[in-house]
Symmetry: none
Subunit: 233 residues, 2 copies
DNA sequence: CAGTGGTCTAGACCACCCT
DNA sequence: GGGTGGTCTAGACCACTGT
């Protein structure tokens, strides 16, 4: 199963394999991973190596360890609720709300000698024919990485599902600056706010696992969006 | 030097010792840590344990490893999360700034049948006789967990260092709600702001490793505090 | 009690960096 | 070549969890 002579370390190979099983649903939310002893036998590697691979999963926020019990898939807290990156659609559906995306702008721009698709989306949830607008998401996607990405209709398909399915690119981590800003008239109108109130703004970059920049973002979070954080310190 | 029979794991003891040497200037910016072989001899522990201790320092953002060369103290990098839960004092010292803390309020209160020390602190950094106020931190510490904590002068000593040194309690993770708020007159005056601008507010709970609530917080972040986030998604 | 993860030892071989 | 960190093995003992 694992290739001892590959340049990729065994713990990375195992880490990739386990992450894949979690993300494709083979290991479901709340389920336990095979124990360290089982993994030792299954892959014929030592416990140290297995522990290293699993520790990476913990750092990635995919699993949690519980002493004396096992390692359990925990996708919910750190990933959901946080922002609308990959969990937006799933999160909405879980709450029996229908996710709604309206594309406000979609254009090719050039910045610092790089060509980007600029995609501005208004996002919200619908229940009982009433739509609550949550965020204004602005994404900049380098089109040399995502060739032909401008052909998709992002009111119909999810951006992150497209990146995964059509480009085999998986967002890994994000670096953000978070600031409070005062709502301007345009934001007010788009988010359907009655008065000018302070909002949250996030600017930053999304990276793939190997450190490649895959998306620059500039999002505005409206008052109906709960910005929750669960951080290890 | 290290106590093999202590309940505190050796790698934590070594990690603490090295962090201390970095923060108190014994190991200066850019300097190399002793090599793994040297540390093995100095502390009579194996390389695995040393590597674990050093890896924690890397995670904390205090050092960087360079293959074939060594481990170097790197305090100025801004890669890591920039808030004051890992210790405002530690963070300021890392940036070669002098932390300033003014205690605004210190009282015993009771809430939900639990007795807390309520500690409100104005915090900033001083350079060239000019103090820049960054945050207003409000902490609620359960006094049945931290007996006698009201005797400390938190203008003189760091809260987190006290928790570590006097109570052997280590913050592990934090759950936060983050909201934008409008500055009121009191905040404006305390943070020495010229006009009313939107600010960031964080409310939440800090937990120890075993899930015990060790602190409730309600912090206000002024415009000079950069709220950076580095998250796996 | 058996099974789990937590810590630690004492080695080994490797790739990388500098001289 | 000699020193550094990167990976890996094959054990050991421990604390915690559930039955």
């Amino acid at each position: 199963m694992l290739n001892k002579y590959d340049v990729i370390p065994l713990y990375v190979q195992l880490n990739d394999k386990l992450r894949e099983k979690i993300l494709n649903g083979e290991l479901k939310e709340g389920e336990a991973l095979p124990s360290e002893n089982q993994l030792m036998q299954e892959y014929s590697i030592t416990r140290t190596t297995i522990r290293r691979a699993v520790d990476e999963l913990v750092k990635e926020g995919l699993v949690e360890k519980e002493q004396g019990k096992g390692v359990f898939v925990r996708l919910r807290q750190t990933k959901q609720n946080l922002w609308n990156f990959q969990g937006f659609t799933d999160l909405s559906l879980k709450k029996n709300q229908q996710p709604v995306t309206r594309v406000l702008k979609k254009e090719i721009i050039t910045e610092n000698n790089t060509v980007f698709l600029k995609l501005e989306r208004l996002r919200g949830t619908k229940s009982n024919e009433k739509t609550t607008w949550l965020t204004i998401d602005c994404s900049f996607l380098p089109i040399d990485v995502f060739k032909g990405i401008d052909r998709f209709d992002f009111e119909a398909v999810s951006l992150y599902q497209t990146l995964r399915n059509d480009y085999q690119i998986f967002p890994h981590h994000v670096v953000l600056d978070i600031n409070p800003i005062m709502c301007d008239d345009k934001m007010c109108e788009r988010l359907e706010l009655l008065s000018q109130i302070p909002l949250l703004e996030a600017r930053g970059t999304v990276y793939s696992k190997d450190g490649m920049e895959i998306e620059k973002i500039h999002n505005i979070y409206g008052p109906h969006f709960q910005f929750k954080l669960n951080q290890y310190i």
